[in-house]
Amino acid sequence: METMTDTDKAVRFDLDETSVRDLNQFLHHELAESGARHIEVLNPNGRHNIAVGMDAPVSVDIRGHAGYFIGGMNKQAGITVHGNVGWSVGENIMSGSIRVKGNASECAGASGHGGLVVIEGDASSRCGISMKGCDIVVGGSVGHMSAFMAQLGTLVVCGDADPGLGDSLYEAVIYVRGTIRGLGADAQAEPMGEEDYARVAALLDKAGFDHDPKAFRRVASARTLYHWNADHHQEY
């Protein structure tokens, strides 16, 4: 693998020299044997599918702007993108963590089951759509319809939320520090309890943000869409 340089158990891939497929083949099949604990990826230049399907307790640093599905289905690994990412970063994340130093496009953390996704900048539309147990912390603001149909887990937004927040929510909980520009169907603002402050404080701490948990508001499901309501006379 001539494009790789082994230095102190770190492995470096330059995507101007090596394909994403070769990188991912290494991460899936050769990582354990190599003994590498740290992988560095250079020149992502918006390429898709970098470090998808990881299943090892190693760190991956992606230096530059990356494309779609970065770190998708991640287990165990700690992935950091030193730039922006395209759609669906950390889609279906199972465990481990993904940190984006810049902004994320749509569907960040979509359908994630576990682990932590941190977006230091803004996240775009449908952040946390259908999340199923992961935690997402956004340092900036989120776009419209974030946490759409989110089933379990926590979305913490340190900035503002665009309209349609939490539309058709199940049991995921959203905390927002800034302005909420509109709630989606069946989402409602609820009073914060001690448990909520502790939950927000713990996630802010894990994500490395220094905000007062008291400044956050809670949004959760009103659960009116859970059951058929005959009073609506089928006029939906």
Binding site: H48, H65, Y68, E106, G143, H144
Partner: protein, 296 residues
């Protein structure tokens, strides 16, 4: 899918390099649209009335067209052929030319009309099309391009984007409209003619109709939000302006990079990654139903 790209140069010194800069943008979006591609390029000055023509026959005799035009319409027309494509300089209004062309050369398509805009579009892989028409050599102040993955109508050069209506106006579209026939029937009742059954043509002719009725681009687009049903990222160009909108769900992607030298738009960041200074550019994603315009 489908890929869209746009580049508007703010620094006139870069105009000579427009083709060099925009061609890799277009080709990088080939995975989003491998079946056909097109590019609209705007000159930085008035070049007189001109037309982009496309011949169905690969061996079309452009000299025969020149002779016929010379006899029937205008003495000494200037034609610059490039395979099945040709640029025609002719001081004749578009309606007259289109009528004459339909009667005498029905195998020729008038791809565009205007004093500033040329449109190239063809079926095939975007990289092959860029090479066929030597896109890197093109110059001008701004360009919009499209790579197509057909989902709703045939793969032919005429069904490729950009679509145009009127003069010096074009539009590229990523997405699909659910009510193109409703829009089409409404416009046909006003005497507006369609050339294909492509859904994007309905959006293009609707917006051009509004512009012709006196609306500005922003006002036309505001009406577009209530008339166009479906998914769309639309990128439009006039002789001095680019405009970008996304549908209310923002279902189709777009990313914008702006520096002191240019505004660049792509379906994905990959399309912009090679541009000079893009790593320091201000990058953002357009919001749903918000109108973005840039003037050269």
């Amino acid at each position: 899918m489908c890929g869209i790209v746009g580049l508007l140069l703010k620094t006139p010194a870069l105009n000579e390099r427009l083709g060099m800069l925009v061609t890799p943008m277009l080709v990088s979006m080939a995975e989003r649209g491998p079946d056909s591609a097109g590019l609209a390029v705007f000159a930085d000055r008035d070049r007189g009335e001109k037309y982009s023509l496309f011949a169905e026959d690969a061996h079309f005799d452009w000299d025969a067209l020149e002779r016929a035009l010379d006899e029937a319409l205008v003495p000494t027309p200037r034609i610059e052929p490039q395979g099945r494509y040709a640029r025609l300089y002719l001081d004749v209004d578009p309606d007259t030319l289109r009528r004459w062309m339909a009667e005498h050369f029905p195998q020729l398509h008038v791809l565009s009309a205007g004093h500033f805009m040329d449109i190239y579009k063809d079926a095939g892989h975007p990289a092959a099309i860029a090479e066929r028409y030597d896109f890197p050599a093109l110059t001008g102040s701004h360009a919009v391009g499209h790579t197509r993955m057909a989902t709703e109508s045939a793969i032919t050069p005429a069904h490729a984007h950009p679509f145009t209506a009127g003069e010096d106006f074009c539009l590229v579209h990523n997405g699909s409209l659910s009510n193109p026939y409703k829009i089409r029937r409404k416009l046909e009742r006003k005497g507006i003619r369609f050339e294909t059954d492509n859904d994007t043509e309905a959006a293009c002719r609707f917006l051009e109709w509004r512009l012709r009725e006196g609306d500005g681009l922003e006002s036309a687009l505001s009406q577009g939000f209530s008339v166009l049903d479906g998914f769309y990222t639309l990128l439009m160009a006039t002789r001095d302006e680019l405009a970008l909108v996304r549908d209310s769900f923002a279902c189709k992607p777009a990313v914008v990079a702006e520096t002191d030298d240019y505004v660049a738009i792509g379906s994905e960041y990959r399309a912009l990654a090679h541009l000079p200074g893009v790593k320091e550019a201000s990058l953002f994603e357009p919001r749903p139903e918000e109108i973005y315009t840039w003037r050269r």
